[in-house]
């Protein structure tokens, strides 16, 4: 599976708040106040959109270049993953199996 085909999903322990239109996400002690673009990406981490699909949605929404969008999405998702806020769909299924 290429990096772009990977599918991010909110982690089982992630929780979220909408504070006046801005999203705040938490998993344990790690919390983030998301920017508008961060919130846009977060909303698409629903286990149905690949990294490429999220980058394409960003190109349409914010009129940025494809490469820029892909780079920003990849970097942002890596940060979210490091904070335990997202997991990758196939990996999570395997990790969660009792």
């Amino acid at each position: 599976m290429t990096d772009g085909a990977r599918v991010p999903k909110w982690s089982l322990h992630a929780t979220v708040r909408n504070r006046g239109g801005r999203l705040e996400v938490l998993a344990g002690p790690d919390g983030w106040d998301l920017s508008e673009v961060g919130g846009f990406i977060w909303r698409l981490c629903d286990g149905r959109h690949s990294v490429d699909a999220i980058a394409e949605a960003m190109v349409r929404e914010y009129e940025v270049a494809g490469e820029t969008a892909r780079h920003d999405v990849t970097e942002f998702l890596a940060d979210l993953e490091a904070s335990g806020l997202i997991a990758w769909v196939a990996e999570r299924r395997l990790a969660d199996a009792p």
Partner: protein, 264 residues
């Protein structure tokens, strides 16, 4: 101003009330609130009355509520049958109500986590919004108008979401342990709390599950169509064979709804 009525729809005056509940003779305000004042009464509905007093009165209480964080932490309740209808009469001190109202003005979004309203107090705040006065209308209007200006909505939204967080965290742990039956029930409860938060955000303050379906039908929020709500609430699509995916889908549904609820 609406006119209070009894279970048969006849006007209910303060004199008639005091004839049945003489313990309430010295009061600042007496109001009715509940399904009857909301127009949701059913064949065996009781009537809920609230008597606001300045000083404690000695009454032979049927029960005493202790689910309170205000001082003093108790409320006496009289339960009487009047013409075959149950009357529940709660005696609240004005000072207790003022403490609840004051707390709704603290500018701190996390206050509901550090010092949450008890169910009893959240219920009173809702009741005040729906109340019809039998006596002491100015007191009721004063308190109601203060609540309208306060952060009550935000506090109750965060209270419901905080409850949902706990249940979602339980669900995640139960999933990881393979206890799918318990996880399914936990996530359904979490979903209910999130729906409560959605309704509170839309101005429907009633805390608790009793009238959830009816309130949703009145509000009809765009974020949650009725069929979707009813399917999860009744676990219509749940099967033991696909329990894990139903649970995870419901967790995701909770998170999507949480993103639409203004918790500021």
């Amino acid at each position: 101003m609406r006119t209070p009525t009894d279970a048969s729809g006849s006007p209910l005056s303060i004199e008639r009330f005091l004839h049945r509940i003489p313990e309430a003779e010295t009061h600042r305000c007496v109001f009715m609130s509940g399904s009857s004042t909301r127009g949701w009464a059913h064949a065996t509905s009781d009537l809920d009355f609230f008597v606001i007093i300045d000083e404690p009165v000695a009454i032979d209480a049927t029960l005493v509520k202790h689910d309170l964080s205000v001082e003093p932490p108790e409320v006496s309740v009289l339960v009487r049958r009047v013409d075959d209808v149950r009357w529940d009469v709660e005696f609240w001190l004005d000072a207790q109500v003022r403490q609840i109202v004051d707390r709704c003005f603290v500018e701190d979004p996390d206050q509901s986590l550090r010092r949450p309203f008890t169910h009893c107090e959240a219920d009173l705040a809702y009741r005040l919004r729906q109340a019809i006065a039998l006596s002491g209308e100015p007191w009721l209007e004063d308190v109601r108008s203060a609540l309208e200006r306060s952060r009550l909505r935000s506090i109750l939204v965060n209270r419901a979401l905080y409850g949902a967080d706990g249940l979602l965290d339980d669900t995640a742990g139960l999933l990881l342990s393979g206890d799918l039956h318990t996880a399914a029930l936990a996530v359904r409860d979490a979903f209910g709390r999130v729906v409560d938060a959605l309704l509170i955000d839309a101005g429907e303050l009633c805390p608790g599950p009793k009238w959830r379906a009816r309130r949703l039908l009145e509000v009809r929020p765009n974020a949650l169509p009725w069929d979707e709500y009813w399917s999860v609430e009744t676990m219509r699509a749940y099967t033991p064979e696909h329990a894990r995916s139903w649970i995870e889908d419901t967790m995701d549904r909770c998170r999507r709804l949480m993103m639409e609820i203004d918790a500021s």
